[in-house]
Point group: C2
Chain length 615, copies 2
């Protein structure tokens, strides 16, 4: 006997033989159902609604509440095809989504368990025999669908005030939006298909946002802006000082950040052709100062010793209070902080690369305006922050720019000077990756000495290099410079090299101090992860040649991209990983580099580039 | 050996012999310590801090967390005087306060377990070796004092934003104010002595507030206002209609209510010479419509069948959001509702008289603009609401007034007409009690017939009454009237009698329907409690004579005053009773009188006064 099983809402049909479990069939149909226990019937995560519902087995009678059993819910690993065609509805909470490729260069598989759930409800209108209030009517139905006791569900006064109109205007047919145990929104009709979240990397220089479909974990769009707070100061300290000097400074910083986030959200919604009203949750990962300023927390104490913030724990506040135009009952969470100088972006990064859970001893270096350095494994982590400045982000560089189309990002010096630009667009400038690669190449061919000085004309004459290369090194009104693109005049100047030296020295010294503190040798590192908003892949050989990273084997180095954004995405999509992120600060010892007496010596030592001889 | 034990913060000294427990000594010193288990060491409620701390016994080692043991906390029932003088600090949460006389006419003893706790903390300022943020620093100390794990304590964004300044301006010496597990306020210095709450009876016609010292349960002041919403309509329905017709109507009603509450709070604070900033919690008990309007919930559905409200559960919102000027991080709770017509005032009343817990079968009649009727015992309750109109509150009565100084409240007709006024002030009018008593007396002496009509002159001539009484019944431009005070002309008019008849008929018919529903006879009632904002004691005989109450024995009747306010006070002072109040709606069946086919017949029948012949 050949039977048919139809999976909803995908409407995927599959032929089935009696005796097969729904879980097996779902796997054949390429539908991922959560089964943490591997289908042994012990985790209860694989609930599906079957029509007609087969008789419940002993494990199902034990694990599924009576009300849900009556509604036709069964465990996919226990329920079997018998003698009839079946329809199987797979609820969002029973789905397993593959979150691979969320972190570039690393592969992780995570189950999507968002805090958000949407249920379409057709409520019975009130009658004299049923004196339940509007809220109770909705609550009882929504709690039933969510598998909660009615008393467990919460609601706020704003939503209560709108509830009677929402119910009556929609003939009591509404979609309830739950965030954990809180009803956060009620919408007319069935809007269950639209459930979105936005993850942000709130950087000192750049802000990047990713729009995610919370049901499928799909990334629908990515957009970015320059942090508008930069108009008040490129670095964190000058922004904090403004909040101390100007009574409205804190408010201005807060508004600047939330306006930029708002613009990005609007752009994301526009590009994905969705309504921002259906964005219910926003996760923001930023460094400690950026999160303080965004939350409107006084940041003054971050700027003076002992550099203590107001609050390290994750903060949740309503989208309304955060000034974001998403669903008016939506909410925003920030990633927890480790210290005044190691913030939520680092916590997100640790989460993204799983540093706190793997056995291998690894080093994560996240290069933004500050360079955060974390080393360790599941037995413990140590971290530090080095003030790198914005050179790696292309800022404070003569022809520097963000990693956007037209930025030179790859450079190779052979018998001539070759380069590529992002998106192969016409040359507009040079990004952090391009600067790093240029300097690495200049060092390799000898146009730049180990002390970071461009060769003068007499030294140049002694070098065995093609004229096509030599002639690029010229004196300009802006000082000696190496021309990458003679047409536009885009070049790397002597002072750009100095900026890069300062930046890489800070990070290299920080790494060395941290390893010393942990009594580790460079050779103990099993993997070195290079993260940051460089915008594109960095050649490990180049990172080694300029001395940004300690002398490990090049194959040990992996470029993992924007881990702050990747971690924020994970916190958005998975309740479990959000909880894990909250534990990371307590696993992580903090080393204050400026209190280390060797730090300045090491910093000066690291200003020079490593002596040539490396591949 | 004679030793000395000093109890703090009272500084009460008592002589002690070795071997006596601290609990025994406290009793001798007239300090009430909570000991639910009667001193057997099983409840753990009697924690005190002893200096020097005696060795902990086995029960103490088992029940007291190690951190508190280390701080010197012991169980008062276990710790004994040994060979040294002791100082014993009795924390608020270990105290038992006597809440007798909170309900007039009834005596209850309740332990004060407020949700509020204040702790004075001297925090260590941040140093580089202690990277805890401001919030963690405060949280760890406050949680320690409250016996909570640090992670259990919550805080909101508003307080976080002010925290750094609060801590630094006060050299890290602050008082933390906790409501359950939430830090709601931080104050400079030691303000632990000032902890207040306000309980409100939010009536359709009158609002009464009581200021309570949350540490001692003492009532510091009482104040009232006419509900300013009355300027939009005396009854609930016309106010609800305004919110439907006028787009700003809901907002105006809400502001009117919160302004009145605010004025009362200011007056209370003024009279008790305290700062309203130290009021952290407000409990509001009102009928369903009043609570809806105060909370800004749309009340329209309360005015049309099936009379369903937005939310019956208790609502908690910030004082800021409720528009009340108390501590800016304080909060307001409303009493839960039973139905669209039986509200939080009735729940508070049931709680105040303990109707839901006693074995005796009792009837509670709360007379305001609506008359709420509840009958039952600990096995179950039934309730109904009868539209009485405001006659019992002195409104819509020719010379009617609130129960304020100058209102005639007691009337007796002998060989002449005798009366008294509230506060023995010069006559200004007549209150509900006065009207009820006048009508009762007029019925007794025969000046009023059982059908409610004043005797005409020819009937009057046939009555054997002193001329001094007879001559008071006169025709006036306002109709026939009985003059109480010839000097001021204050009188009871024929139409006032009609108002009283309508009011008492509604209630009497309601009581009869309710008893029928419960298959009860009048004689089954073991106690009849008459509550309401009459303002002063009502003579049970008078209530029986006008037929307001069913014909029970007069000694069965007790006047219990404003039970709505009394219940609100209990919800404020005791977490346990607040929780109990939340369960009351689920214990209480609701009878919709207008759906009972006998109700109108009975109402008409009850318009007449009982035939004379009663004492």
């Amino acid at each position: 006997m050949k039977l048919k099983v139809t999976f909803r809402p995908e409407n995927v049909e599959i032929a089935a033989l009696p005796g097969l479990t729904i879980l097996e069939l779902a796997r054949r149909a390429n539908l991922a159902i959560s089964a943490v226990c591997g289908g042994r019937g012990t985790c209860g995560k694989c609930l599906v609604r079957i029509n007609p519902a087969p008789p419940a087995g002993p494990l199902e009678l034990k694990r599924i509440p009576a009300a849900r059993l009556a509604e036709g819910y069964r465990m996919a690993c226990q329920a079997r095809v018998t003698d009839r065609d079946l329809e199987v509805e797979v609820p969002d909470e029973s789905r397993l989504f593959n979150l691979k490729v969320l972190v570039s260069g690393l592969s992780r598989e995570v189950a999507v368990h968002s805090t958000l759930r949407k249920y379409y409800l057709e409520l019975a209108p009130p009658v004299i025999e049923d004196q339940r209030s509007d809220w109770e009517r909705l609550r009882d139905a929504a709690a039933g669908r969510a598998g909660l006791r009615p008393a467990e569900l919460e609601v706020g006064i704003y939503l209560l005030r709108r509830l009677p109109v929402l119910l009556r205007e929609n003939n009591f047919k509404v979609t309830a939006v739950l965030a954990n145990r809180r009803l956060i929104s009620v919408e007319g009709g069935d809007t269950t298909e639209h459930c979105y979240g936005v993850a942000f990397d709130l950087g000192t220089t750049s802000i990047v946002g990713a729009l995610l479909d919370m049901r499928t974990a799909r990334e629908l769009a990515v957009a970015h802006r320059t942090n508008p707070q930069t108009s008040y100061g490129a670095d964190v300290i000058s922004r904090i000082n403004l909040t101390l000097q100007d009574p409205d400074g804190g408010q201005r910083m807060r508004t600047a950040a939330s306006d930029a986030l708002g613009e990005i959200i609007a752009e994301l919604a526009d590009r994905a052709a969705i309504s921002a009203h259906h964005v219910y949750e926003v996760v923001v990962a930023g460094n400690s100062a950026m999160e303080h300023l965004f939350l409107g927390l006084p940041a003054g104490s971050l700027a003076t010793s002992p550099y203590i913030g107001v609050c390290r724990g994750p903060v949740t506040l309503s989208a309304r209070r955060a000034g974001l135009r998403v669903n008016e009952d939506g909410f925003v969470r920030t990633a927890p902080l480790i210290s005044g100088f190691v913030g939520g972006d680092t916590v997100a990064g640790i989460l993204a690369v799983n540093l706190h859970r793997e056995e291998r001893l690894r080093l994560l270096v996240d290069i933004g305006t500050n360079g955060e350095i974390v080393a360790g494994n599941r037995e413990g982590l140590f971290c530090a922050s080095a003030a790198a400045g914005p050179a790696f982000e292309g800022a404070n560089i003569h022809n520097g720019m963000r990693a956007e189309p037209g930025a030179i990002d790859k450079v190779r010096i052979t018998d001539r000077v070759e380069y590529s630009t992002i998106a192969e667009a016409p040359v507009r400038g040079i990004c952090g990756t391009g600067l790093l690669e240029t300097v690495s190449e200049l060092l390799r061919v000898g146009l730049l000495g180990p002390e970071g000085r461009f060769r003068n004309d007499s030294e140049l004459a002694g070098l065995e290099l093609p004229a096509a290369v030599k002639e690029r090194l010229v004196d300009t009104p802006g000082g000696r410079a190496f021309r990458l693109d003679p047409e536009t005049g885009v070049a790397v100047y002597q002072k750009d090299v100095r900026q890069l030296q300062l930046a890489k020295a800070a990070i290299a010294a920080g790494i060395e101090i941290l390893l010393e503190k942990m009594s580790l040798e460079t050779s103990d590192l099993e993997e070195v992860l290079l993260a940051g908003a460089f915008g594109s892949y960095i050649d490990p050989a180049a990172a080694l040649r300029i001395g940004l990273l300690p002398p490990v084997r090049p194959e040990t180095i992996r470029f993992v991209g924007n881990t702050s954004l990747a971690g924020a995405r994970l916190m958005l999509l998975s309740t479990e990983l959000k909880d894990e992120a909250e534990c990371i600060p307590s696993l992580c010892g903090y080393v204050e580099l400026f209190h280390e007496k060797d730090f300045m010596d090491l910093f000066v030592e690291k200003l020079a580039f490593p002596t040539p001889g490396l591949p």
